[in-house]
């Protein structure tokens, strides 16, 4: 997901978090499903809603709206979960809604601007401009492998 892969066109799944449109590499999307009740887990930050049973596999569910502090985390019939699969790790990501699949050429992707210390850009790999739309591209790998999701338990102070 580096911004220097300029020559290859990629397909991204576009979804909404609050007012913003985000995109994830379509190849890391396993499926899209409705939001089920989750089993809460102890010691978890608020954006980890819990775990669900996905055909016999225990999968953690992350509410990206809470993770990125965007919009209000309401759960209704439009709330959907994108199941992401990367290197064998599977997580569910709750978003406000999925719009479409967008083809993005390499040259349409700009590196993430510096926001100073205000915004956590760790999980953003770049910004794509497609026509009138602006997609914030998520770096799935660093999101899934971040310490508070699938990594080792954070040290308890």
């Amino acid at each position: 997901m580096n911004s220097n892969r300029n020559d290859v066109a990629h397909e991204f799944l576009a979804f909404k978090l609050g007012q913003e449109e985000y995109g994830v590499d379509i190849l890391s999307v396993q499926e899209i499903r409705g939001y089920d009740t989750v089993t809460r887990v102890p010691e978890a930050p608020d954006y980890i809603k819990g775990v669900i049973n996905l055909r016999g596999v225990i999968v953690p569910v992350v509410d990206l709206r809470l993770k990125f502090k965007l919009g209000t985390a309401t759960y209704d019939e439009f709330t959907v979960m994108i199941v992401l699969n990367l290197k064998g790790k599977v997580i569910g990501a709750v978003v406000d809604g999925v719009s479409d699949v967008v083809q993005v050429d390499g040259e349409q992707i700009r590196p993430t601007p510096e926001f100073g210390g205000i915004i956590d850009t760790r999980f953003i790999s770049g910004i794509a401009t497609v026509g009138e739309r602006m997609l914030i591209l998520l770096d799935i790998e660093s999101l899934i492998l971040s310490a508070d999701i699938t990594g080792t338990a954070p040290a308890i102070a």
Binding site: T37, V38, T39, R40, V41, P42, E43, A44, G50, V51, I52, N53, G56, V57, I58, V59, P60, K89, V90, I91, I149, T150, G151, T152, A153
Partner: protein, 655 residues
């Protein structure tokens, strides 16, 4: 060409590893005098097939080493030389080097030790064959033994009447050594006249001289009165062998039976080699089936009308069948714990030798079965415990004599079943733990200790990280990474370690493990909106405590008085931040690592067998939770880690 052979490599390596293990066991048996003539044959055969395989596949180093080893074994086998300790050391060392060579060959890397030094050592042993030892006892006794025994065996016609069967005797004899059999059919009547209840055959049997005459006579001990029997030594320096008395078989009628190879090859179980991953897949699928069955059962309960009864009956059968199927599938993964135990004779021998102690290893319950996954992981902690026992536990021979004990120390390994658990004990009859020294060491390390600690609490200290009581650091143990690693490893398998020690009498470490990691008998409990699974093995009882038995202790939280014992109470809902009733009505008393805890829950839902799923596959470890499962309604329930909860409390208390 080499590509064609490559697909056989895996089999060759696997068989060679088994062969090496058999060789090691056999050699140790020989050394301890438990070996028979057949043991050395078995070792020889194992070496021979490794040699053959390695030469075929072009592993020349392996082939060279086994060739020399085989030469030595052959001389031992044919009694051309006695078994000296030099030879034994060289042969055991070659087992190790072969293991290394095979491993390197398997990984496709150059081996750390190419075995050249050992080939030289073995050659040295071989060339030294004209030493005085040659004339030693076994060799001196040998000339009297005949080269072979010729046995003429003619059962009387009535032999079957007494319930004896000549065939069984022949089989028994075949196990003593390589036997040639000739059968005399002369007495056989025409088919029409044949009486199947009578015996008409006669045999002439030839057995090698290495077999003891007493063993042969033993085989016939039940039928002596019912046959004409003669056993004659032949070809040795003994009295000239008389001609066999019984009928010599007539050539046309003789039916030579193929030589039966020595060893109990006939009694081998029929088995197939299956990849472990296939078995795992099977277990997973059965796990899914169990969940589906539980789901159907939940739905079935709410069906009404005429079909309901038939449906329920069908569901019950389904439940029984799935449970049977699950048990059968899980038993496929079960291996006798002997697979681990058989590593130890060698380890104990080497360690005892290096430390100059005399150690006797006893094992019990080798046939106890354990999940294959557990077997693989239990090995390292056990090696550690046995090392500790020999290094720190057992005294030196002089100290033992001074203490009035048997100069030979004993290490005991025992395995047994207890409920749904398996217990593995590693014990020694050494000096036991030193309470004062442990306490002093704990203070020095800054580990918090109560004022009047019980023995159990003191012994628990040695499981603290970085704790080691060894005064001197040896190259075997005492580097400070010890019992805490053992306990952590066992815990990661869902097990517990308990240590008992009596000064002067010895130390016993008991490892308690679940039978399998795949399923668990659990009690489901409700806390707030969540459902948790408590492993049944940890539950002692559940009760509705009356208010007067609950006391508040300052700084310690609340305690529950149960039959005179005060147990710390944990409000599960608030412990996990899940809410739940403020004063839950039910208390479940659980035990882990030898300590008890009273868990407050909102309700008891029921008892069921659950399929354990890992949380760590896609998420991470959570303290106090050992895994997750899927309930009948498809929801996920977390499984409580009782020992973890108990330990967690101590961390909070100590902080």
């Amino acid at each position: 060409m080499s590509n064609d052979l490559r697909r056989f490599h895996a089999t060759f390596f696997e068989e060679s590893r088994e062969g090496l293990e058999a060789m090691e066991t056999g050699l140790l048996d020989l050394e301890s005098g438990r070996g028979t003539a057949d043991t050395i044959n078995m070792v020889f055969r194992a070496a021979h097939s490794i040699k053959g395989g390695s030469a075929t596949f072009g592993f020349t180093k392996v082939a060279e080493l086994t060739h020399v080893l085989e030469t030595l074994l052959d001389e031992l086998r044919s009694d051309k030389r006695p078994l000296t300790s030099d030879a034994m050391d060289a042969m055991l060392a070659s087992v190790d080097v072969l293991r290394g060579l095979l491993k390197a060959a398997e990984a496709g890397v150059p081996p750390a030790d190419d075995g050249a030094a050992l080939v030289a050592q073995l050659n040295a042993v071989l060339s030294g064959k004209t030493t005085i030892a040659f004339a030693a006892a076994p060799a001196a006794a040998r000339p009297k033994a005949p080269e072979r025994f010729v046995i003429a065996f003619a059962p009387k016609a009535s032999m079957f009447m007494s319930g004896n069967d000549p065939l069984r005797i022949l089989r028994e004899l075949a196990e003593l050594g390589t036997m040639t059999v000739e059968c005399d059919l002369a007495g056989l009547p025409a088919f029409a006249d044949l009486d199947p209840t009578q015996s008409f055959l006669k045999w002439t049997l030839t057995l090698p001289g290495t077999v003891s005459e007493a063993a042969i006579r033993d085989a016939f001990s039940w039928v002596e009165d019912e046959c004409d029997l003669s056993i004659n030594g032949d070809g040795g320096a003994a009295a000239p062998a008389p001609e066999p008395v019984a009928a010599v078989p007539m050539p046309p009628a003789a039916t030579p039976v193929a030589a039966v190879p020595g060893g109990g090859g006939a009694s081998e179980d029929a088995s197939i080699r299956v990849q472990a991953s296939k078995v795992d897949l099977l277990i997973n699928l059965v796990g899914e089936l169990v969940i589906t069955q539980a789901m159907l059962k939940a739905v079935g309960g709410s069906v009404e009308g005429a079909v309901a009864e038939r449906l329920l009956a069908g569901l019950e059968t389904l439940e029984r069948n799935t449970r049977d199927l699950q048990e059968a599938v899980i038993s496929v993964r079960m291996l006798p714990v002997d697979a681990v135990f058989k590593r130890f004779p060698r380890l104990v021998r080497d360690l005892a030798g290096r430390l100059g102690k005399q150690v006797n290893l006893k094992t019990f319950g080798e046939s106890t079965e354990l999940d294959k996954g557990l077997i693989e992981k239990i090995s390292d902690p056990m090696v550690h415990l046995v090392r500790n026992a020999i290094d720190h536990g057992l005294e030196t021979t002089e100290d033992r004599i001074r203490a009035g004990k048997d100069p030979i120390g004993t290490i005991t390994l025992a395995a047994s079943h207890q409920g749904g658990n398996i217990l593995i004990e590693v014990s020694d009859d050494g000096k036991g733990l030193n309470r004062e020294r442990i306490l002093a060491k704990a203070r020095e390390k800054g580990i918090a200790v109560g004022d009047n600690p019980t023995d159990a609490e003191v012994w628990n200290l040695i499981f603290a990280p970085g704790f080691s009581t060894a005064a001197a650091v040896t190259d075997l143990s005492g580097r400070g990474v010890g019992m805490d690693v053992v306990r952590r490893n066992i815990q990661s398998l869902g097990g517990e370690t308990v240590l008992q020690s009596t000064t002067g009498k010895g130390t016993k470490v008991t490892i308690k493990l679940p039978l399998t990691l795949a399923i668990l008998d659990g009690m489901t409990v409700g806390v707030g909106e969540e459902v948790y699974v408590l492993p049944l093995g940890h539950i002692i009882e559940s009760m509705k405590p009356s208010a007067e038995n609950v006391r508040t202790v300052s700084g310690e939280g609340r305690v529950l008085k149960v039959r005179g014992e005060y147990l710390p109470m944990v409000h599960l809902g608030s412990h996990f931040g899940m809410g739940g009733q403020e004063r839950p009505p039910i208390t479940v008393i659980v035990e882990g690592d030898g300590q008890k805890l009273a868990l407050e829950v909102d309700e008891l839902i029921g008892q069921q067998q659950v399929v354990v799923k890992s949380l760590e596959t896609n998420y991470r470890r959570i303290d106090g939770i050992s895994g997750a499962t899927i309930l009948g309604d498809g929801r996920v329930a977390l499984i409580l880690d009782v020992p973890g909860l108990i330990r967690g409390r101590h961390v909070v208390k100590a902080a």
